[in-house]
């Protein structure tokens, strides 16, 4: 039997917010223009002893029906929006949140505002970071007004937890799971993925001691059943 990756991480978000670019930046350390993703792309990342699979999904509505397939059994979901486009944040809640029904029940969430290099003001990153963004790309292009602020993301994060009926106290705190990045300049991208992995992997260990052996199938099946019965009743 082939060995499945230990952890599944899924990138979700509207078309053109930069999911593929984020992943390219992280995996290949460079930024290049991409075209619209078809379906989903799979990347394998070794993280210590674990292999982490990252699914970069298509944001196009055409593939919307498949989102739940890519999400099945995911241990972490990264929601991506475009800081210069408020609608992209709205879409997350409207379209993409429901896709996570098939994710693992204790799935963790991260909310990422991409394209901060485009905006006029420096992103107000959380203080722990203490790093000033924007320098890399200042002056390169005309800045647009930032439409989405971190606070919006934080409140979305809370709503996500509520939707998933997760306890806010047990889930990772919002400040730690809301990010602002720029795939173009590379700002905060590694930090994003590493924080997510760091949060997910300990959960994995915890689970390994528990009754279920793998993250994927068992959990996803449970999740599936849960959803279905919920619907029927």
């Amino acid at each position: 039997m082939l060995k499945k990756p230990d952890v599944k991480v899924v990138l979700l978000g509207d078309m053109n917010v930069g999911k593929t670019s984020l992943l390219h930046r992280y995996v290949e350390k460079k930024f290049h223009e991409t075209v619209s993703t078809v379906g989903g792309a799979f990347y394998l990342k070794q993280w210590g002893p674990h292999s982490i699979s990252i699914w970069d999904t298509a944001g196009r509505e055409q593939f919307h029906g498949l989102g739940s397939m890519y999400c099945r059994g995911a241990a972490a979901v990264i929601f991506v929006y475009d800081v210069s486009n408020f609608q992209s944040l709205v879409e997350l809640e409207d379209r993409f949140l429901a896709l996570t029904d098939t994710a693992s029940t204790d799935c963790i969430f991260a909310i990422v505002g991409n394209k901060v290099d485009l905006t006029d003001e420096c992103a107000s990153v959380n203080e722990t970071e203490g790093e000033k963004p924007c320098h890399a790309t200042t002056g390169s292009t005309a800045k647009v007004r930032k439409q989405v602020h971190v606070e919006d993301a934080v409140s979305l994060y809370k709503r996500v937890l509520k939707y998933k009926m997760l306890d806010e106290k047990e889930a990772p705190p919002a400040e730690k799971m809301c990010f602002e990045t720029s795939a173009k300049s590379g700002f905060s991208v590694d930090f994003l993925f590493e924080s997510v992995f760091d949060t997910v992997v300990p959960l994995l260990k915890k689970k390994a001691n528990g009754p279920s052996e793998t993250v994927d199938l068992t959990d996803s099946n449970k999740a599936m059943k849960g959803t279905r019965s919920g619907c029927c009743k």
């Binding site: 593929t20 619209s36 970069d56 298509a58």
Partner: protein, 758 residues
Amino acid sequence: MRKGETTEDKGIGWDADMEVGSSDLQNQEEMGSSEEQLKTLSVEGGAHGNLTTVEEKPHKSCSYEPQETNAGETLMSSSQAPQEMKTEQPSVHTVTFEGGFCRGSQILSPVPQKYKLEAKAENDPQNNVLVVGDGEWTNGPGEAESEETLIIQNSAAVMEKSGGTTASQNDLLEDMKRVPVSFNNEPEEEEVNLITQNCRYEETQVISAPCPQINIPEEAEVTRVPVSRSSGPKVSDMEGILPQDLAENLNETRDNSSDRDLSDSASTDNTLEDSSEFTQRPLMGRDSLSPESSLVTASAHRDDDVTAEEWRAHHKHIFVLSEAGKPIYSRYGNEEALSSTMGVMMALVSFVQTGNNCIRSIYSDDRKVVFVQQGPLVLVSVSRTLQSEQQLRRELMYVYYQIISMLTQASISRIFERKKNYDLRRLLAGSEKILDSLLDLLERDPGFLLGAVQCLSLPASLRDSLSTILQKAITTNLVFSILVARSQLVTIVQEKAVIEDCRLDPADLHLLLNLIGASSAFQAGEIWTPICLPRFNPDGYFYAYISYLDPECTVCLILLSTDKESFYAVSDCKKRAEESMRTQGSLQVLTDGLQRDSYSVAMVGVPDLWHFMYKPMDIPDNYRQLTQFTSPETEGPYAREEERQRLFDLYRYLHSRLHSTSRPLRLIYHMAEKETLLAWVTSKFELYTSFSPLVTKAGAISLVTKLLHWLKKEEDRLFIRYPPKYSNTPGPSKSSKASRTSDRTDTARGENGFFLGL
């Protein structure tokens, strides 16, 4: 090929009216060999002055290209005569609809049987009556708009074709498309022809009633013979062939009829010409719009560049819209800005539809507008190329299939059933690039034209070993394994049990390759995406696993499964396949081979041969084999992009002649501006060759023979001769595989519902 056709064909427009045909059956006989054919060509050409030909003229517009000298003999012949005679009417535009009978106010197709509406046109002051089917459409004031759209004004400006055709040739070509039906004295006026889809009768009729005076009812408007202003060298022949008095008769008839209808048509025409409404039709054929008309247009979409001259100047526009008239895709310009244009297109379509007919094409002076309706989608091509309607229609089908490949036919119809005015762009958002790149490919990839796939030229042993590797790396529900290098097929392995009677259609493979080529995201990581193969099953999804095997991303492995959950299993297949390829070193050999050009025409060793395309049709086991073709690199005279395009345009032209629905040809010897071409189709192959200009007809035949020898010798390298398959033959060593195979089939049919039309 039929003898009679050969010659007649020249006279009768091959792409005049696609539906016209069959009339010449009487003089067809089977041709033996090509040589014979050639002889016949020349011989018959001279003999062409017979009555039949004359009769046919009226409804063809002769399309004969002067440069195509058929052995210097008379290919041109009689059909041109009518054109010559009518020089008075310089530019007539014909709009063709297809219906059981056609009738328009200005244009009446001589549809005999049901012809009862004669008087209508005259009664209608607007002269806006288009009749299709049993009903007639009156364009009263209320409908004036849609009526106008049917008319295209074009001030006869003929654009020079890059393809090397001269303006006059162009005219000829255009003229030939005009169905004889309408008459009009006004030079500026455009005719609208309705061609009915099921109009066999009509055609026959037309043919049998060559001269308007003979068959056309009094009331009917007079048929007008297409006019061509360019007189080829053959004119004299024509005159000889066509009795002078007959010609006069023709003219008279026309005049009479025009007199009779003068009031109607004149008023209409004038109105049209004067009214800015007419000119503002955003439709097509506008490149020679008068200044004020462009102003009007500009006001319609002032802020948009779709009004710009450059936008109109594009050679080929493609539009996709929904039945509700909602824009879905436009090759150039913003769909939003084009919504009114598309509305007009939809008006045209539904206008004709009301009469239980189906609009197929509109011919204007230098453009063709071709409509294809597929389910709830309407596709429109507006082009200034010399391609035949048939070819354009086929291209539209590719566009349709590409959309289907992303959404499936079933889901599209479901969506539109639920909500008629759904904006499909929501679902296709992000896919425009895929369609764009498809349209670009259509302009230069002969594979689409020939409906065949080009295989990478490889030693047969290497291809076999790669196939064997793929055959071993399988898993449940894996249906196709396709190895592709630089968009050329290396090998394909398919699951026999599942697809016993089916095979992968070349079109499906083209669409798949286009999809891959248009997505840069494929270059890293492994892709898992649903994809529909429309020719295989338009309603179901396959799940495609796509991965590149080399860092340069030239060698690509595509695995198609029916199980959407099987990503990891399929990915594992790829790992195994990749591993075996590396161990055997075949991947290395393959990538090394890719460093070079595929192969040069010089390797053939035939002097004066510049380029060719060869599509064999006798490959063993052909019925479940992909149709293939081979073609050398374009080099030498065709190294430059424009020259390459010019050659491809010539090939397209020859292809349209060979495959004309009305007058198919088997062999064409064509002397073009810079080269000599020979196209030849038999039951065993289809061949297009380009030689240096000095090659004679006899010389070309002998060179082609040499080429065919070479191709025979190299066929194992150029083609997949014996397509590998998964075996499900029960046998000691294969029992496990066999059982798995049957499992697979069951799963495919049952659980995942693929065959249930999922």
